[in-house]
Symmetry: C2
Subunit: 313 residues, 2 copies
């Protein structure tokens, strides 16, 4: 029997990583990457997003990717859906889970999906009904849960209100997303504590970005409050349109390396992740923010320098 | 009266940042940078290193830099010294503090300063005597305190032994340095707890590198155990010869931004730091790992997009 991980890391690079990339990643290559993830120990992989191809051309092949990946039993292949049309398309493509996304900030929700939050919630009532009748899993994501690049800090009460509305719709899980990297550890600890008064840790995912370098510190703050599910992206893929050059999602292999160093099991094949991350710069034409792909695992040691050997001789 | 900071951030970029840079930074420019730091709220700045110019040519102008910077009363201008000759030169250049450095790992100490640890300690007995008679401050740094790239993990007992030896020499402060970015938050918490049983928090500095992305998570772990002095480098300058392309020291402005977001006072002028960090890529000819210099401070908000305004109109 497989050992239970202490920290569950959910790979989101095919969706949240690639959506902002200006370089078109061929469908074949997306499928190859997701199939590789399926062999590395993940239990949940966010495959793509069913959104307008005009809004996010990088993911216009969502349906084809979904239908052509090799499914491993036990792995949940997730589709992000902002609306009913997305949900229908995701179900047609046989997604295992619909990840509904709306922002705590109305301004951000309007910018992202052209709806006020209240309208998103009305739409999600229908999406949830459809999802339930189709027998798929449902996740409710709160984007900009820790801050909005237009509005600033969001009241925790607003985030909790959306969480409760999602729970009323019967979701299986909740994700708090720090969409543009504005969270800090004190804020994370406080919000996680409040959300874990409503749902069990197994139902809560934290989705951090490393935009201001705080990603792993925020993971630690959430973990110390009892959360143990985290989204991350290979190589730290992803980004923020408001922070050119800054980091994107927290980096899968950096997070796994930290966890393993702390004797926390992730169930992930770290060497395989690093090898895959090292292919990304050639695929996408730019450096990745991931550190472990450059530095190696913490205990990948180096040979004693010749000069030292000479001194000791 | 000046408010007491909650976290004291000590700038080390002129020494630990520049020492690995292949591009020669003109003496004038080093002096300008240090003089700028003197106006930004730092109470301690590591100015340079008195080492063999053959070993570290980038800092061969240590004496000139020290004698030409504009000293601000109350700021401690630190010189790193690995041996007696370095100490004599540092005193001749009127350093306020001698920062003695040796590695927990003998292999690393041999590679770094061509001495076994025991020899470094014998030398430091003389350095400390000289320093005391000159009335300067003394700091004892333990490099590779959390791991050595050749030997791997170092026994905490070895680190504590060196700390005790430094205390026997009458040092004013101790620095635990994660020289090549191998520390993790659990390890940091455990070691800080043990060291704080020997010395008060005011006498302890943590020096982290972000080589594997854990820098700020490690700061948080140390802070949660009572430590509040941290070294960092503007723009995340610095590096590790074994991790080409990986991050160097933790980034001063990223750390200050995190602290301010957590309502922890640093006394630092964050906008001035960011402005100065943004000059580094042109000075050094490469990108910096710092994130806040790219993304802006957390609450530097962006205007509502025109498309959203149109939807709301």
């Amino acid at each position: 029997m497989k050992e239970q991980p202490d920290i569950v890391i959910q790979e989101v690079s095919p969706r949240d990583g690639l959506q902002i990339e200006p370089t078109w990643v061929p469908t074949e290559e997306k499928i190859r990457l997701i199939d590789a993830f399926s062999t590395m120990g993940f239990s949940r992989i966010e495959v793509s997003s069913f959104v307008s191809p005009k809004a996010i051309p990088a993911l216009r092949d969502a349906a084809e990717v979904f239908t052509r990946i090799r499914r491993t039993p036990g792995i949940i292949y997730v589709a992000l859906v902002p609306n009913m049309k997305g949900a229908e398309n995701a179900l047609a493509a046989d997604a295992d889970e619909l990840n509904m996304v709306m922002s705590a900030s109305d301004t951000h929700n309007l910018a992202n999906v052209r709806m006020q939050g209240a309208e998103s919630l009305r739409v999600f009532a229908d999406v949830a009904k459809l999802g339930k009748s189709s027998g798929v899993l449902l996740n409710g994501s709160v984007a900009t849960a820790f801050g909005c690049p237009f509005e600033g800090r969001q009241a925790p009460e607003r985030v909790l209100e959306i969480v409760r509305r999602y729970l009323d719709l019967g979701v299986d899980g909740i994700t708090l997303a720090d969409t543009t990297g504005m969270a800090n550890p004190a804020q994370v600890a406080a919000l996680v504590e409040r959300v874990l008064a409503l749902i069990p840790p197994a139902a809560l995912t934290l989705h951090f970005h490393n935009t201001r370098g705080l990603g792993l510190a925020n993971v630690l703050a959430a973990y110390n409050k009892g959360a143990w599910r985290f989204d991350s992206a290979l190589g730290g893929l992803g980004g923020c349109p408001f922070a050119p050059g800054a980091s994107g999602n927290i980096c899968t292999e950096d997070l796994a390396n930290m966890a393993h160093d702390m004797d926390l099991k992730t169930g992930l094949d770290l060497p395989a992740l690093i090898a895959e991350a090292r292919k990304l710069p050639a695929l996408l034409g730019h450096d990745m923010p991931g550190q472990v792909m450059k530095a190696g695992r913490t205990l990948d040691l180096h040979p004693t320098p010749a000069a030292v050997k000479a001194l000791l001789a």
